[in-house]
């Protein structure tokens, strides 16, 4: 297969990579763009650790080929906040203790951020569970993540 130039937007910046179009987006993000917040865990769309937002939709970047994202807009965990400028959702994760080993955390925050951006109400626990059902975590027992998403939603819809 031939190398190809592929252009797209990541976290608001235009990028152009010269790579194999069949390479998974996750590998391009990690190896060529040094955006290592997205993680590989199962490599087949079971765990959500590699979640990114592609034109507003949460996708598993291990299942998207980079050739498919020509001209598209991608947001990764690095585009949501950094330690000096935390997103309110990330603050809520810290307040609630919703991260332990932290390896699944970027994918869950990406999925939860996209969910909170999509809805117009404070979700119930059951709605949060449904929204994040595609993300696995082995440490936390999920409880504090649900609390954190709820807390961020309350801030987003009441306090703003």
């Amino acid at each position: 297969m031939n190398l190809k130039e592929i252009s797209f937007t990541v976290n608001g910046q235009s990028v152009c990579v010269f790579t194999y179009p069949a390479k998974p987006l996750l590998d391009v993000l990690r190896e060529e763009l040094n955006l290592t917040g997205s993680k590989e865990c199962c490599g087949k769309g079971e765990c959500g650790s590699c979640s990114v937002i592609l034109d507003g939709e949460v996708v598993c970047s291990c299942l998207v080929l980079v050739g498919q994202v020509e001209g598209k807009d991608i947001k990764t965990i690095e585009g949501i906040g950094d330690p000096d400028h935390l997103d309110p959702l990330q603050e809520a994760f810290l307040d609630c203790g919703a991260t332990q080993c932290g390896y699944c955390t970027p994918g869950i925050i990406v999925a939860a951020r996209a969910y909170l951006d999509r809805i117009q109400h404070i979700p119930t626990h059951e709605e949060i569970k449904d929204a994040l059902a595609g993300n696995l975590c082995r440490c936390t027992g999920y409880t504090k993540i649900i609390q954190a998403v709820k807390k961020a939603a309350e801030q987003q819809f009441i306090l703003r």
Binding site: K39, G43, I80, L94, Y103, C137, R138, Y142
Partner: protein
Amino acid sequence: MSVQVEPKKLKWVGQRVRRKDGPEKVTGSLKYMTDYQFENMVWGRVLRSRYPYARIKRIDTSKAKAYPGVICVLTHEDVPGFNGFGIVIPDQPVLCHDYVRCMGDAVALVAAETEEIAEEALQLIEVDYEVLEPVTDPEEAIKDSAPKLHPSGNIHSRVHVKNGDVKKAFAEADVIVENTYYSPRQMHAFIETEGGWGILEEDGSLTIRCPGQYAFRDRLQIARVLAWNPERIRVISNPIGGGFGGKDEITVQIYLALLALHTGGRPVKIHYKREESVIAGIKRHPFKVTMKTAAKKDGTLVANKVVAFGDTGAYASLGGAVISLAIEHSCGPYYIPNVDLEGYCVYTNNGIAGAFRGFGVNQVCLAIEQNIDMIAEKLGMDPIEIRKKNVYHQGGLSSMGHRVTTSVGTWKTLDAAENCELWKNREKYKANPSEPWKKRGIGVATSFHGIGMGFGLPDYGAATIELLPGGRFLVGVCSEDIGQGNGTVFAIVAAEALQCHIDDIDVIQGDTRRTIDSGTVSASRSTYVGGNSVLAAAPFMIKLLKSTAAEIFKIDVDLVELRDGKLWAKVPVEGKNVLTYADIYQYLYEHRRETKVEGHFMVPKAEKQIGNNVGMPHHVYGYQTHVVLVEVDTLTGETEVLRVVSIPDCGKVINLQGLEGQAEGGAVMGMGYTLYEDTIIERGIFKTTNFTNYILPTFKETPIIETIPIEEAEKTGPFGAKGIGEVVMIPIIAAIVQAIYDATGVRINHLPATPERVYKAMKEQGVIYRG
């Protein structure tokens, strides 16, 4: 010398403290080992065995070596030192030379320019095997007729504890129950698979970056294989994307080291795909436990007889210790005067089993707690009442026959269970299932878990504290943070002892160059041992701060007071009468003096060993009771856990947020063990490959979890703390099984309690919904 802080003045201990590493984790900016990138790197891959059991006749690497882009191909002939590893007995070959004993066995290593070339090169390595019949059943494996997988035979270890007169006690008992329980091969399923970097540095030293649970022991195991002085090797093992015991043993460290010696100084990376992690990684020991338990009419437990078989797979790893811990805990936190407890750790060709959160106790807890429930039912007793009647108390004897002098919270956890809202209103909760064909039930169970290594095993900790510019402190404890938050615990302990803000403490862990040996992150030990180590170092720092202040003040050190994180002169002095830690640092720096101290802690031991069993007993235990509410679908056999009350006794709570995190994570992992998870191996071949056919609990299955800490302070612990990492996942197993029984009237003795098993049991007993 010790640090005295009055309990009522505690500023950080017992609070809800945010994780120190939280901001980096929630932003994805924390670099795990496989997130690093190095120029001019190469990819490493491992050739696995093609069969679960076979003799290697010939290995030919010539085609692979000649393949363009391949940098090196290594076999057992390239191992310079000892070709083996294993925490207790190094019986696992690094690269197999005569036999392969499981599908995870490594036969060759490849380094290549790209991952794809490495993969292609693996296909070009020719290995001729003489295929042998695998040994797959532990009870068959111990027979004389079975092929011997190791020169010493197939019994890796046997543990036996006998007290009192079991025969007489059974003869005189009023009620006896006997059952056999089977438990699954649980997979750690850490989200980060095994991986890392090996780099031969310009000065000839070797750096291995690989997540692990004991960097100093990993270094020793690497050094033994290379025949190097360990001092020439630096292991960086922190941070870690989940461990649970699965990164306690060597994973890829030795492969990285061997490859790094053959890549001309180019950094080499290995990162397992999940499928390789499933096959190569250790698992929880599946057990068969036969348990016969007897009681008097009043519910007093009088005898327990146990025979347990643990399948350790092809190699020992920590299998012997797992069986030992299982036997030590096989009677629960109760006093049973007559016991005969026997455990076997057996080699088979079923993958490899090793350390996993709970370490053998999960398997036996299911048995003893179920047997007690059956006895209670026969006697018409309340399940909490019978447990309260039989628990041992501080100062009392355990079923092992040793006096437990440390804190024991079992009775209080059971009392809290009895008084919790879920238990008190259990009839109300059970009365309203979500559908007419569903049935609800409630279960309760209790357990315990030893802290640290146990009698006769080396168990120590050490910490450094360094005063930094600006008056900050760097606390170093090698014991890694595998997610549980022990780094934040060390910071809390240090902030309390040094009277400073937690933001002024930095913590470094898991680096053999920058920290000193503090033992493993396992055995629920790091809060207890690491916390005590920080408390052992703190007085030396206080002494340094005070004596330096005295020098600046030009007064006797006894006239310096440390108060509110500052150093005060108690008598009039020239100039200012108060100094900050920043002032002390500046003075030491200007005088070119050392600003680092260290402290060491030896873990106290029980008075005497139980029989010939190394590691038995433990001195300190954590205790835990769970109450659960389940709903069983009588049409499908599917069980849903609706509510969990987790009641841990970890001694004094250091970080309430961290404790709840452990309690919740443990509850859900225990739920997975009980209801869904099993790594299926048939005739030595893995049928489980990835998370498509290994079912983990998700957000959807998360119950409502309430944590009620019982703080039975332990005087040998840091601020009274013990440990909790493992026991939080244990009694919930038996509690769920009991709740299924309460709901449906069927007892499941073979875990996981899948819908198929529950449905089949209900059908056999005629418990099916008829509208």
